[in-house]
C-alpha cells in the first residue's frame, strides 16, 4: 500500500495530455524565450539615450515585458537576501542586535541613494554598457522590494513556537534541514503578502529605477518606468493615459498569473485569520491538473529538492558520537577573520569618504539640511494624519460590520499593488489649477502612495475585535460612542501604530518623488529633504550625496526611535490585551 511519495494528488484517469497542458506549455515557452532574449541583451551596445523611448502605445507591451523581467529578477534577489539575512537575524540575540539596526539603516536610505552607489560602482566595473545600467536598475528595484520581506521573514521565524523547534531538533534535523522544513514554511504566508507589497513598492519607484538621472547621467532603459517619465517630461497626456491603462492591465495580469496562485498555494501554510479568505486560483488549478506540469515537478523539481535535502543530511549516526566540532570551529574562525578583514577595508573606505565629505561641507549646509528635514517630517506626519482620517472611520465601520472586510479586500490589494505615482501628473494639474502650492500638495501625494499601510493595518485591527466582547457590548446596550471608546479603539490602536510606523517609513522614501516633480519642461519643487536629496544625486558631487544620505537616514531612524517605537510600546502595554 506504499504510495510513491512524490505523487501528492491522485490523478484518476491518467490521460496522456490534459487540456491544461496547453497553457502550461505556452508558459514554458514564454520563460525560455525570455531567457534567450535576456542573453542577447547582455552583449548589447551602449546605453540608450532619452530619445530612445518611443511613446507610441504599441511599444508598451514590450516595455512592460522588459520592466517585468527586471522586477522578477530583483524579486528573486530579494528572496535570496530575505532568506539569508532574515534567517541569520533570527538565529541569535547577538545577531539581531547587529543586523536589526543595520536593516533599519538600509530601509531608511531612499532608492536614489542606492542607485547612485550602484551606478557609480557598476560604471567603473563595466563602463558604458547597457548591462551595467540594467544591473543598477535591477539592484535599485531590489532595494525597494527586499526590506519589508526580510522583516516579515524574521518576524515569522521568531514566532515559531518553541515546541516545534524542539521537535525539529529531537528528530535530528540539521540546521539547513530546519531552514527548509520549518523556517521557510512558517514564513510563507507573510512572505506572500509582502511579495504583493514589494511589487507595489517596486512599481512605485520604477521610473526612478529605469530613468536613471543620477550622477549627471540621463539614461532611459526600455521599460514602463522610462515610458512614463518620458511621457510626463513631454507632457504627452495621451501617453500618460496609456501608461495608466497599461499598468492597470499589467497588475490585473500579475494578480491572475502570479499573486492569486501564490495566495492559493500558501493557504496550506496558513494559520487562518479573518482576512485570509479562501483563495481559488484558476492558474494554480491548471498547474495542478496539467500532466506536463506534474511531469516537470516530479522528474525535475522534487528530485532536485530531495537532492538538496539529502545532501544536507549527516550520515545516520550511532546514538552517541562525539562529534568533532573542531573542524567546524576552525572554519567558523576563518570565516569570521575574513569578514573582519572585509569590514575593515569597507570601514577604511567609508572613513576616507567621510573625511572627504567633512572637508567639503559646512555647518550652515548641515543646518539648512536639518531644517529641510523638518519640513519633510511635517509632511510625513500630515500624510499619516490624512491616511488615518480616511481609513479609521472605515475601520470603525468594519469593526461593527466585519463582513464588509471581505468586500474591501480587493480594493486594498489593488491599492497596495498599483503605483500611485502614475496619478501624480493628474494631481499636480489639480494643484496648479486650484492654486495649491506643492509644499502642501506633496503631502497629498505621499498620502496617495502610502495610505495602504495604514489601511491594511487598521482593517486588520478592526477584524481582530473579539466576537464575545462585541456581543457583550451589544447586550449591555452600549452607545456607539461607548463602544468606540471601550472596545473598538483599544483593539485598533496597536494596529494603527504599526501601520503608522510603516507608513511613515515609506513616506520618507516617497518624498524623493513627491517633493520634486518633472512636469513638462517645468520642475516643480518645494522645500524639503526629499527634493534636496533628488537634486544632490543628479550632481556628481559625492560629498553632498553622502551628506544627504546620512542626514536622511538619521532623520528616519530618529523619528523611529523617538516617536514611533515608544508609541508602539505604549500601545502594546496599554492595549495589548491578555499578554
Amino acid at each position: 500500500m506504499a504510495q510513491r511519495w512524490q505523487w501528492r494528488l491522485d490523478l484518476g484517469g491518467r490521460p496522456l495530455l490534459t487540456i491544461y497542458d496547453l497553457p502550461v506549455a505556452v508558459l514554458i515557452f514564454a520563460v525560455i524565450a525570455t531567457l534567450v532574449h535576456l542573453a542577447s541583451t547582455i552583449t548589447s551596445p551602449p546605453p540608450p539615450e532619452a530619445q530612445a523611448i518611443d511613446l507610441s502605445p504599441l511599444k508598451l507591451p514590450y516595455y512592460a515585458f522588459r520592466s517585468l523581467v527586471r522586477m522578477f529578477l530583483a524579486y528573486g534577489l530579494s528572496l535570496v537576501f530575505t532568506f539569508f539575512y532574515g534567517s541569520l537575524m533570527a538565529s541569535s540575540r547577538r545577531a539581531e542586535k547587529i543586523l536589526g539596526p543595520l536593516l533599519d539603516v538600509l530601509q531608511s536610505v531612499p532608492i536614489l541613494g542606492f542607485l547612485s552607489v550602484f551606478v557609480a560602482s557598476l560604471s567603473v566595473l563595466m563602463p558604458n554598457t547597457a548591462l551595467g545600467f540594467e544591473l543598477s536598475a535591477i539592484l535599485a528595484i531590489f532595494t525597494s522590494q527586499a526590506w519589508n520581506m526580510t522583516y516579515a521573514f524574521y518576524q515569522a521565524v521568531r514566532s515559531i513556537p518553541r515546541d516545534l523547534q524542539e521537535a525539529a531538533k529531537t528528530m535530528g534535523l540539521s540546521r539547513l534541514q530546519r531552514f527548509f522544513k520549518l523556517e521557510v514554511p512558517s514564513a510563507i504566508v507573510p512572505l506572500v503578502w509582502n511579495t504583493m507589497m514589494s511589487f507595489g513598492g517596486g512599481f512605485l519607484f520604477l521610473s526612478a529605477s529605469e530613468a536613471i538621472t543620477v550622477l549627471g547621467r540621463d539614461i532611459r532603459l526600455e521599460g514602463m518606468g522610462s515610458y512614463f517619465a518620458t511621457a510626463v517630461e513631454q507632457l504627452d497626456y495621451q501617453a500618460i493615459a496609456w501608461a495608466i491603462f497599461a499598468m492597470i492591465l499589467l497588475i490585473a495580469l500579475l494578480d491572475f498569473f502570479f499573486f492569486r496562485p501564490l495566495l492559493s498555494w500558501a493557504q496550506r501554510y496558513g494559520q487562518g485569520s479573518a482576512l485570509e479568505a479562501n483563495y481559488e486560483s484558476a492558474v494554480l488549478l491548471a498547474l495542478r491538473r496539467s500532466r506536463l506540469a506534474s511531469i516537470i515537478k516530479d522528474k525535475l523539481l522534487v528530485p532536485f529538492l530531495n537532492f538538496l535535502f539529502f545532501r544536507m543530511t549527516k550520515p545516520p549516526n550511532l546514538p552517541v558520537v562525539a562529534q568533532s566540532s573542531r573542524l567546524r570551529r576552525t572554519l567558523l574562525i576563518l570565516a569570521l577573520l575574513l569578514l573582519v578583514v572585509l569590514l575593515a577595508i569597507l570601514a577604511y573606505q567609508a572613513a576616507l569618504a567621510l573625511a572627504d565629505m567633512l572637508k567639503e561641507i559646512s555647518l550652515e549646509m548641515v543646518i539648512r539640511l536639518i531644517g529641510l528635514g523638518f519640513f519633510t517630517f511635517l509632511r510625513v506626519l500630515a500624510c499619516v494624519v490624512l491616511s488615518s482620517a480616511v481609513w479609521l472611520p472605515v475601520s470603525l465601520y468594519v469593526a461593527l460590520h466585519p463582513d464588509f472586510a471581505m468586500k474591501l479586500r480587493p480594493l486594498l490589494e489593488f491599492g497596495a499593488s498599483f503605483p500611485a505615482n502614475l496619478f501624480f501628473p493628474l494631481l499636480v494639474m489639480a494643484f496648479l489649477a486650484l492654486g495649491i502650492p506643492l509644499t502642501f500638495g506633496s503631502a497629498v501625494l505621499m498620502f496617495a502612495a502610502n495610505q495602504w499601510y495604514i489601511a491594511f493595518n487598521v482593517i486588520a485591527g478592526a477584524v481582530s475585535v473579539p466576537r464575545d466582547l462585541a456581543e457583550a457590548s451589544e447586550a449591555m446596550g452600549l452607545s456607539f460612542a461607548q463602544k468606540v471608546k471601550n472596545l473598538i479603539f483599544p483593539c485598533i490602536f496597536p494596529y494603527w501604530v504599526t501601520g503608522a510606523i510603516t507608513s511613515a517609513g515609506g513616506a520618507w522614501n516617497v518624498s524623493i518623488i513627491s517633493e520634486t516633480l518633472q512636469f513638462g519642461s517645468q520642475t516643480l519643487e518645494c522645500e524639503g529633504l526629499g527634493a534636496q536629496f533628488t537634486q544632490a544625486t543628479t550632481s556628481n558631487h559625492w560629498p553632498t550625496i553622502i551628506l544627504n544620505i546620512v542626514l536622511m537616514s538619521t532623520f528616519v531612524i530618529l523619528a523611529n526611535r523617538l516617536l514611533w517605537r515608544p508609541l508602539y510600546n505604549y500601545a502594546i502595554t496599554r492595549y495589548g490585551g491578555e499578554t
Binding site: P161, M171, Y269, T313, P316, V321
Partner: protein, 446 residues
C-alpha cells in the same frame, strides 16, 4: 549466578550530579533550575518523573534528550558521555508539536528522512507506525483536521518510528480531555507491556501523582526551588492497576506526604508570627478558591485525605497543594501525613457571614503573612499613605527571581485587597491606603 551478574546491563541513561543554572546579569545571581540530580533509567523500566511546575522536570527531560547541556555534572548514555543530541531517545510533546503544513504521514517520516533513510522506506515505516498507533486511513490528513487525541497519536507515531531505546514524554496527556487521555494511556501501556514496540524504556514527566503511580515502575519525585530529587518510589504493583485498590491509594498517600513535607519546609514556620526575617513563598491561589477548599473540608467534617480531595475538586496535585499550603499559612488548616484538618479559625472563617469572615481573613493575613504585614507597615509610615510597587518588588527580588517576585506581589495584593487592608491601582502601579483604612489605621495607633 555469575552469568546473571555479568548480564546486568549498563543503564540506558545516567545522570551524575547534574545541575543547571542560568546567570541573571542584573543581579550577578544564579537561578538554579536543577541542583545535583542523580538519576538512572535501566532497560525495561518505566520511570515517571513527578513534580510541580518550576521543579525543572522539563529541563531534566531536555538534558536527557540532549537538547540542553547541563551546567555541571555528567550525562552518560550507555556508559559513554552524551555529546549533542541523544540519538537513542525520542520526545513526545505536551502540545503535540506537529508541523501544520505537513500531512500526518509526512510528519511521521520527517525524522527518518532527516537521518538519510530513503523516501520509499521512510514512507513504509511511517505508514506501519501509524497503523500500530491506530491512525490507519488518516495518512493524508493535515493536523488541523485532527482532534487532540489523534494529534498526540501522531506525536507518538513520530517518536516510535525512529525506534528509540528510550521514549521520553513531556506531560503527553495533559493537553487532552480526560477520556481521551485515559484511552491513550491504556493503549500506550498495552504497547509497552506486550513488547509490541522495540523501545526498551520509558520516561514520563508528569504532574499527576495518580498518572505516575498508574503507569510507572518507579516514581522519582522532584521538588522545586531548586529542582532536586526529593524521593524515589518503586511501584510494586502488577498491571493492570486498580486505582481504587488500597495498595494504590497507599502509594499515592506516601507520595503526597513527601510533597507536602517539602511544601512545609518552604513556608516560614507558624511559630514566628512577628519576625520579619524572611518572606514566605506565597502559593499563588485566589481567596475564592481557598474558600472553596475550606468549605468542602467543613462539609466533610473538618478532615480529609488530600488525595480524596483531588477527585472531588477535579484538581491535580500541583493545583491542590498550593491551596493546602495557603490554608496552612493562614492558619485555617493543618496538613499532616497526607491529610488536611480544619482548624478552629478555619471553621470560624467558613461559617461566618461575609463581613465577619473578611475580618477573620484580615486578621489571619496580618498575623501570618510577612509580606502583607510589611506592605501595611510601609504604607502606614509613608507620608501620603502611598507607595509604588517597585519598592516592594525590589525588596522581594532579594529573595526571589524577578519573575517570582512579581507573582509574589500579585498574590499579596490579591489577598490584601480582599482583606481590605490596602488598595492597588494597576495602571500607575501604586499601592495605597484608602481613606477609611487610613483613618482606621491611625485610630488603631492611638
Amino acid at each position: 549466578m555469575n552469568e546473571r551478574m555479568q548480564k546486568k546491563t549498563v543503564p540506558i541513561i545516567e545522570l551524575k550530579g547534574v545541575s543547571k543554572w542560568y546567570e541573571v546579569q542584573e543581579k550577578s545571581a544564579k537561578v538554579v533550575v536543577l541542583d545535583n540530580v542523580n538519576l538512572q533509567v535501566n532497560e525495561h523500566e518505566f520511570v515517571a518523573i513527578l513534580g510541580p511546575s518550576g521543579s525543572g522536570k522539563s529541563t531534566l527531560l531536555r538534558i536527557i534528550t540532549g537538547l540542553v547541556k547541563p551546567s555541571s555534572g555528567e550525562v552518560l548514555y550507555r556508559g559513554s558521555p552524551l555529546v549533542g543530541l541523544n540519538r537513542g531517545s525520542a520526545l513526545v510533546f505536551q502540545s503535540f508539536a506537529l508541523f501544520p503544513w505537513l500531512t500526518v504521514v509526512e510528519n511521521v517520516e520527517l525524522g527518518l528522512i532527516a537521518r538519510g533513510v530513503s523516501p520509499k522506506e521512510a514512507r513504509e515505516r511511517a505508514v506501519s507506525a501509524l497503523d500500530m498507533i491506530g491512525l490507519d486511513g488518516f495518512e493524508e490528513a493535515l493536523p488541523r483536521e485532527l482532534s487532540g487525541g489523534m494529534k498526540q497519536r501522531v506525536g507518538f507515531a513520530r517518536a516510535l518510528v525512529m525506534q528509540p531505546e528510550l521514549l521520553c514524554m513531556d506531560e503527553p496527556f495533559s493537553g487532552l480531555d480526560v477520556l481521551t487521555a485515559e484511552n491513550l494511556r491504556g493503549e500506550l501501556l498495552d504497547l509497552w507491556l506486550e513488547r509490541k514496540i522495540p523501545t526498551l524504556s520509558m520516561l514520563l514527566v508528569t504532574h499527576s501523582i495518580e498518572e505516575a503511580v498508574y503507569m510507572a515502575d518507579r516514581v522519582v519525585v522532584l521538588w522545586q526551588n531548586p529542582g532536586r530529587i526529593a524521593d524515589e518510589f518503586k511501584i510494586g504493583l502488577s498491571h493492570p492497576r486498580d486505582r481504587k485498590s488500597p495498595e494504590f491509594k497507599r502509594y499515592v498517600d506516601r507520595i503526597y506526604t513527601v510533597i507536602t513535607r517539602q511544601a512545609e519546609v518552604e513556608t516560614a514556620s507558624k511559630l514566628k508570627p512577628f519576625t520579619l526575617r524572611r518572606f514566605q513563598k506565597l502559593p499563588h491561589v485566589h481567596v475564592g478558591a481557598l474558600s472553596g477548599l475550606l468549605e468542602l473540608l467543613e462539609e466533610k467534617g473538618g478532615r480529609s485525605d488530600i488525595y480524596a480531595l483531588e477527585a472531588e475538586l477535579g484538581l491535580e496535585a500541583d493545583e491542590l497543594v498550593p491551596l493546602t499550603e495557603a490554608a496552612a499559612i493562614l492558619g485555617f488548616a493543618q496538613v499532616y501525613e497526607g491529610d488536611i484538618l480544619l482548624t478552629e479559625t478555619g471553621k470560624a472563617f467558613v461559617s461566618s457571614d461575609i463581613l465577619e469572615s473578611k475580618e477573620i481573613f484580615r486578621q489571619a493575613v496580618e498575623n501570618n503573612v510577612v509580606l502583607i504585614r510589611t506592605i501595611v507597615q510601609s504604607l502606614k509610615t509613608s507620608a501620603k499613605k502611598r507607595m509604588r510597587e517597585e519598592f516592594f518588588l525590589e525588596l522581594l527580588e532579594n529573595h526571589f527571581t524577578e519573575e517570582e517576585a512579581e507573582r509574589q506581589l500579585d498574590t499579596a495584593i490579591d489577598w490584601g485587597r480582599y482583606a481590605e487592608l490596602f488598595a492597588y491601582d494597576d495602571e500607575s502601579g501604586v499601592l495605597y491606603l484608602e481613606e477609611a483604612e487610613a483613618q482606621e489605621q491611625s485610630s488603631v495607633n492611638e
